[in-house]
Amino acid sequence: MIRKAVYLLSLFCLWLLIMGKAGEPGPEYYTLKLPDSLPKPVYDFSKNPLTKQGIALGRYLFYDPKLSKDSSVSCGFCHQQFAAFGHFDHALSHGIMGRVTSRSVPTLFNLIWQKDFMWDGGVNHLEVQPISPITNEDEMGMDLKELITRLQGNKTYKRMFKDAFGTEEVNSQRMLKALSQFMAIMISFESRYDSVMRKEPGVTFTPEEQGGYRTFQQKCAACHKEPFFTDFSMRNNGLPYLPSMNDIGRMKITNNTADYLKFKVPSLRNVLVSSPYMHDGRFFDIFQVFAMYDHGQEKGNTIDPLLKNGIPLSEKEQRQLYMFLNTLTDKKFINNKDLKEIMIED
């Protein structure tokens, strides 16, 4: 008898639940279109399914300077779309009140395949990555608790959080998940290189580009592995240590001397639109990078075994490599309207 009552009650509850939900517009799911050839993303979308409203909120947050202490610096301030979300013409990232950090702004794309973040891999998940620049006193300098309070008092955010997550509650988890949704759709696989690889009709490499591709495969691809053009590892590439910067790289994270001067291998996609180069942005021209590998390395204890003899590059190889790298620029990505900066009115 009791069982039957409980059963009926459960059924009634279920009915209430279904009736309650119906008619209320929920967030609309968004399907991320990815080339079939790619491996499964590292990012777990089951815990943060993409929705149009979630992405819209993420984009709004990304371009909102209110995320910084004095409302002067947004995420998009340093991560500029035309530079593949790197910072055009700035060696070192800078933040509120003219403060400067010790590292260059990394580009943002294909982040859902990335296991760790920052030049030293210190951040272990896409969702917690934004906390770092938001709270860093040399970047956006904002206390996280203060930021959540600020957003909670904002009508636009209340509405947008409700649209994205069902209720007006503004909390750090929702904010970070929304930012991750926006960053997740920063996908770059539409370069001319990709068209050539997909054998799209009428698209081929010029002989110079083809030569560059050969050099790339022979001399660069072990670390800058296709199709991401990085193997996501940390290595000491022989870049000379600068006492004035005293940046020990990965060792700062692990306290392990074996990680001294190791930095993340950056992707070469969009490389020619995202200068300057290296973790401290010391090279403004890609030919300076070629020169470093050819004859400018400092070979300390932790130099990568693949690079301990440098990478000899003739003038012709360098020229052709440049031509090839040019095919990695994804114009559709850097002009993608869905990623464009939006005006924040209040």
Binding site: K47, H125, S172
Partner: protein, 231 residues
């Protein structure tokens, strides 16, 4: 479908039968009740010091019944802070029974350290999450000591690290002084003594540590022994 609903209902009924075990936490320094601010304490190395912040995570609670079975409480994390009375009252839901032991973890599971944005007690707004080297600060003690060579003579210990070889979560297994009969509700008074943290540590040598590393591991080995059952 029918069975599924039945199961859900049974689960709900079973859940409703859970009893309440309240843990009351008290903080001391070498047996003296902890007071934040100007009260001066002495560590084992003979340094005087005061405490301004004392905060830590507890999680993975379980009890052992008199037959030796382990019963896990619902997976929940608690942030305990000396400056918040509410945080020092932890309520666990457990089945009726007779228990002889209590276990829990100081800190947060490795998995929760690396699976993205969390909420509740794990919300990074509480300042217990490292932003530049992801992971939770398992326990935090701040204050000052004349022995400290740091600016302002501060002492600042943010203990964390969830990746080998620097792991700072510690499991605490406590034997209850008498069998706890849990029927509707019961209380346990737990004391955490901050004195244990600095066993073998002088503030002259180490006055602060705020990354994963050997010094953090050592303090974690120490704070594993900070708890005792009062009643």
């Amino acid at each position: 479908m029918r069975y599924c609903l039945l199961l859900i209902s049974l689960f709900v009924l079973k859940g409703a039968k859970a009893q309440t075990l309240q843990l009351n936490l008290n903080h001391t320094v070498n047996g003296v009740p902890m007071a934040l601010g100007n009260t001066t304490y002495l560590n084992a190395a003979g340094d005087t010091f005061n405490i301004t912040v004392f905060r830590y995570y507890l999680s993975n609670f379980s009890v052992t019944d008199i037959a030796g079975n382990t019963i896990k409480a619902a997976p929940e994390c608690f942030l305990v802070s000396e400056d918040s009375l509410n945080s020092k009252r932890i309520t666990l839901k457990l089945p009726e029974g007779r228990y002889k032991g209590l276990s829990f973890m100081i800190g947060i599971d490795s998995l929760l350290n690396c699976t993205g944005a969390q909420s509740g007690a794990l919300d990074p707004i509480y300042g217990m999450f490292w932003t530049w080297n992801s992971g939770y600060i398992m326990a935090k003690l701040e204050g000052t000591s004349p022995s400290s060579h740091l600016p302002g003579h501060i002492i600042e210990f943010h203990i964390g690290g969830y990746r080998a070889p620097h792991i700072t979560q510690r499991i605490v297994n406590l034997t209850l002084p008498q069998t706890l009969v849990l029927k509707s509700s019961a209380k346990i008074n737990l004391t955490a003594d901050a004195y244990t943290w600095f066993n073998g540590i002088s503030f002259r040598q180490v006055a602060g540590f705020m990354t994963p590393g050997t010094a953090a591991d050592r303090i974690a080995d120490n704070y594993q022994h900070m708890f005792s059952v009062k009643n």
